[in-house]
Amino acid sequence: MMQVAVERRPTLLFLIVLAVLFLLMSTSQRTRVVGETRTLFERTVMTLFSPVPKAVNQVGQGGLDIYHGYLDMRRAVSENVQLRRRLAELTQENLILRRSNSDLARMRSLLSYSEEFTIPTLLAEIVMVDTSGRFKSAILDRGSDHGVEINDVVVHPSGLVGRVILTTKDLSKIQLVIDRGASVGSLVERSRRQGVVIGSDRGLLSMEYVPNMSDVVVGDLILTAGIDGVFPKGVPIGKVVQTEEGADLFKNVMVQPSVDFRSVEEVLILHTRKIPAEVARYQP
């Protein structure tokens, strides 16, 4: 009955509603001024519809979390790829630097060693080395074009390496001191007793012609004596590792070479003063 009456007079309803709403606004405005921000009616409407904003907020927050998680994941993946690439670059760089550092240390060692000699020197790199066969030799990357000559002496900061036995334009072949055909005039540093160091098949050196009565003990340092016309005086050859009296007049002295031939990479070639052939051949 009431609804029908209202529906038949919508304009009246409209005006009443507007009046009520204006009153509501005025009340709301007054309470707002004295500090109360929400009227009871307003709170009721908010309470009724509050699940909607809450749900929207939760869904929105969840969506944002997923989105940010996805962005973080993409950022992390991208960063991971970049870091891996950087790691590979730095590893490569590190390897190069370590090698350069190692090369530099060896070069410095060789250069400072070369300053000890008054004779001309030439830096060379070993391109091949054979210490396992019967004939122990090595190939250097310097040849006659670089001034390398037969019987030039090859040394390393740790000791004597050998002598040049063959040259080409850009390569040279050296006989290692441990080759069984090599022989070097030598002396014991401590007692100055001379002898001849020759190679042996066991990788050790044998010092020959050392009298039984001479003073040679294990640990003595053996140097080149400079008496054979090839090797300069004072280059370390090795250390005595075994000594015993021989059946004849001479001792059996075994020497451990100073140089580890398997780890040598760069060497110095010494242009020693050669004895003229006619002088070497001269027999009074």
Partner: protein, 168 residues
């Protein structure tokens, strides 16, 4: 059924309101989903229903915004009444008609709000004309888009869904 549609529409409008508040604060100064809802419902031509729809939608908007409580209820009630009054005498159909009705609704709503705010606070709204123009454009375009989507999904004239069946 018409009231159920209105309730669903109101919940959607409140959802849009919450989303805009969350992601684009102040967006409601340039767009009003409640005006779309009330105008759409009022285009059914039912004056009583339009007044009630305007009051409810306006109160919900007021409750979840920082406006004077009752301000939007007042303006939307005016909008609902006027749209329903016009459509009860004119036959309006189609997206363009809905868009024009929306544009008029937004303008009326904004003018009512301007007057009320000026009366109640003695301080006129700044940049009122620019705000009204943008709000009219955005709300009308968005409303027309929704209307077109309703045409596609309902496979009928959306206004027929809210139109009161003729009494014998």
């Amino acid at each position: 059924m018409r009231w159920l549609r209105f309730l669903v529409g109101l919940l959607i409008a409140l959802t849009i309101h919450s989303l805009l508040d969350g992601f684009f604060p102040n967006a409601l100064a340039f767009f009003s989903p409640y005006v779309i809802l009330v105008a759409y419902y009022a285009m059914g031509g039912n004056l009583f229903g339009a007044i009630v729809a305007g009051v409810i939608a306006g109160l919900v908007e007021d409750a979840f915004s920082n406006a004077i409580f009752g301000l939007h209820a007042f303006s939307l009630t005016v909008v609902g009444y006027l749209v329903a009054y016009v459509t009860s005498r004119l036959v309006l159909r189609g997206t363009l008609a809905f868009g024009l009705a929306l544009a008029g609704s937004v303008i009326v709503s904004e003018i009512v709000i301007y007057i009320l705010v000026t009366i109640l606070t003695s301080r006129p709204i700044e940049m009122f004309e620019e705000g009204m123009l943008i709000k009219t454009l955005i709300t009308s375009l968005f409303g027309m888009l929704i209307y077109q989507l309703l045409v596609l999904f309902l496979h009928e004239e959306p206004l027929d869904a809210v139109r009161r069946p003729a009494t014998r």
